[in-house]
């Protein structure tokens, strides 16, 4: 009787450990997924004193600018007209407080960043966030 109890306990323990490992593997594999939307070519400027990104607004529009000055959203290159169209659509849908985050390469000229700011202003968005690296990973 005692032996049977031990056996069933051992079997349950094996299954539990199995599940725990599956969960660990899942979390480790998905931890980097949120980072995968970032363009690896963009080297953000370092701002160690900037406010940490804790909470993400699901409405946020992240506009990337690489070192050559090309503007992309979700790795899709956009002309200034297309960008304005996207921002106008966003403001029509979510309101004027939709957060626009400019993720520009530190080496990019301000002229390209200015185009995004001007397009945001034309769409009625005055509050803009500039993305920077608080701490460089590796």
């Amino acid at each position: 009787m005692r032996k049977r109890e031990d056996e069933s306990l051992g079997g349950a323990l094996i299954a539990m450990i199995d599940v725990v490992f599956q969960i660990i593997i899942f979390f480790v594999c998905t931890a980097n997924l949120q980072d995968s939307g970032r363009d690896p070519r963009i080297q953000l400027a370092v701002a160690p004193h900037a406010q940490l990104v804790i909470k993400k607004d699901p409405r946020e529009i992240v506009v990337d600018v690489d070192s050559h000055g090309s503007v992309t959203i979700a790795r899709t290159p956009l002309s200034s007209g297309q960008l304005l169209h996207v921002l106008r659509k966003a403001t029509a849908e979510y309101g004027r407080d939709v957060p626009v985050i400019v993720r520009a390469d530190g080496r990019a000229s301000h002229e390209m960043v200015r185009q995004i700011m001007d397009a945001s202003a034309a769409a009625g968005i005055w509050r803009i966030k500039i993305s920077a690296l608080k701490e460089k990973g590796g």
Partner: protein, 135 residues
């Protein structure tokens, strides 16, 4: 005979801890070696002047500091300074009053990192009334 059989008997539900720990450490090693530390992102909030403000604004409010970001560096109140000097001056200013409005003017050919550096210094000092003009 009976003694021999007793030696051979194994419990099917018995947990082989040694092998399991071995596998667990293999997995742990794999994940530690293959993982890349993530970059920590931060945001710097700025305000763009509204179009109406530009046309109607004739005189600047008294508590306003102007920082110019150009291709070769920075200028504070039209005086060329390095980043260290800018940091020192803003720290001194931030210590006396945090209600100062900082107007950051960027030339078109200035690197974006220059603007980020100025915003970072302002965040460090605690100056929050920031506006960015493009020239």
């Amino acid at each position: 005979m009976a003694r021999k059989r007793r030696l051979v008997v194994e419990h099917p539900g018995e947990l082989n801890l040694v092998a399991m720990i071995d596998v667990a450490f293999q997995l742990l090693n794999y994940f530690i070696i293959s993982s890349r530390p993530l970059d920590v992102l931060a945001n710097l909030d700025i305000l763009r002047p509204e179009a109406d403000d530009i046309s109607t604004k004739e005189e600047e409010p008294p508590q306003m500091l102007e920082i110019l970001v150009h291709r070769d560096g920075y200028a504070i109140q039209k005086r060329n300074v390095g980043l260290a000097e800018l940091d020192r001056q803003l720290t001194r200013l931030g210590g006396s009053s945090r209600n100062v409005s900082v107007v950051i003017k960027c030339t078109g050919n200035s690197p974006h990192a220059g603007l980020v550096n100025v915003l970072d210094v302002c965040a460090k000092v605690g100056l929050t009334k920031l506006a960015v003009f493009s020239m």
